[in-house]
Symmetry: C2
DNA sequence: GCTCAATTGTTATAACATTACATTTCTTAC
DNA sequence: GTAAGAAATGTAATGTTATAACAATTGAGC
């Protein structure tokens, strides 16, 4: 049993089915767009989803090693690049780590609540937030290409546990 | 003459006086708080302000080299750590670079508009934004410690120049 | 099956950051 | 003024993250 399984914020759904769903969605999405979700890419995406927290490129690489794939960094980074470009994965700059996107179909720019204690991250999908940020940039006559919003602190579980 | 000197967004004030003011403010602030703004720390802060765009730790190190200081990375990183801790400098995670804080007295969490073309960054000081983000986190019962907001795109000047 | 483009492999290296421990410099109490 | 302890800096080594450059392979469409 996962000790976090009762954490409403950080564990909104059954993890196994969530991984499964994410992969199904990714496959569908790639098919629709004529993108090649190759073995490597699929496996990287799977490992990212399997991790309950943001995962580093070299962690993925290490997993590849354990699985007998003798890959070098570019293999992983290229897969990550593909996944990011197509909105399947987000990079969290403040952690140098990667997370599966919970709503890849939307091509959005997510925000994250990152817990310093348990290292989990929760994606913020509020569209109102995004619109506010866009209008803020617009006020400055700034043309937004991408946004990085990473809020670091303590999640409910970790705070109450203290 | 600086080609960007007429850019209202990215060049809100005379740069020389802006550096000067920032250093004065920093000195005052450190004195008030009983902090030691040593030679190294002051010079790092100065170099950061002299750069018209976010500057990397190793760029600072290179400058140190040119000035005859034979410093190693820890020297610079320690100064940066001090400056960050005391709100004088922000780290921009998506760039691995540092910028002077325009309002160090407030101990705030800034946001940035980062231009991909000219590489300049403009700090967002809107307090309403900050409050909105805090309330958003609060809705999720998340205790905020720090925030990273980095919006990447094209500034007015670069967009109109295209 | 051939061709071209996309993907992956491979080697090396760049870029960013920290650890650990020695040395120096400051501050404070005497 | 000076000794003791704390703070800051020097130094060497290494850890971590990411990319460049070019070769080899694979896959899709003809």
């Amino acid at each position: 049993m996962n000790s976090q399984s009762d954490n409403a914020v950080f564990q909104q759904h059954n993890h196994a089915s969530c991984i499964h769903d994410a992969l199904i969605t990714a496959k569908k999405l790639c098919k629709e767009r004529g993108l090649r979700l190759t073995d490597t890419r699929l496996r990287v995406l799977e490992l990212i989803w399997q991790s309950h927290k943001p995962i580093g490129a070299y962690d993925i690489l290490a997993q590849f090693g354990q699985e007998g794939r003798n890959s070098a960094p570019p293999t992983v980074y290229r897969a990550l690049e593909f996944l990011q470009e197509n909105g399947l994965v987000h990079r969290i700059a403040s952690l140098n780590a990667f997370m599966g996107c919970v709503c890849p179909q939307e091509g959005h720019q997510g925000g994250f609540l990152i817990c310093k204690q348990c290292k989990r991250a929760q994606e913020i999908t509020e569209d109102t937030l995004r619109k506010q940020l866009l209008s803020l940039a617009q006020e400055q006559d700034f043309e937004v290409e991408s946004m990085t919003l990473e809020i670091s602190g303590l999640c409910t579980t970790c705070r109450t546990a203290q």
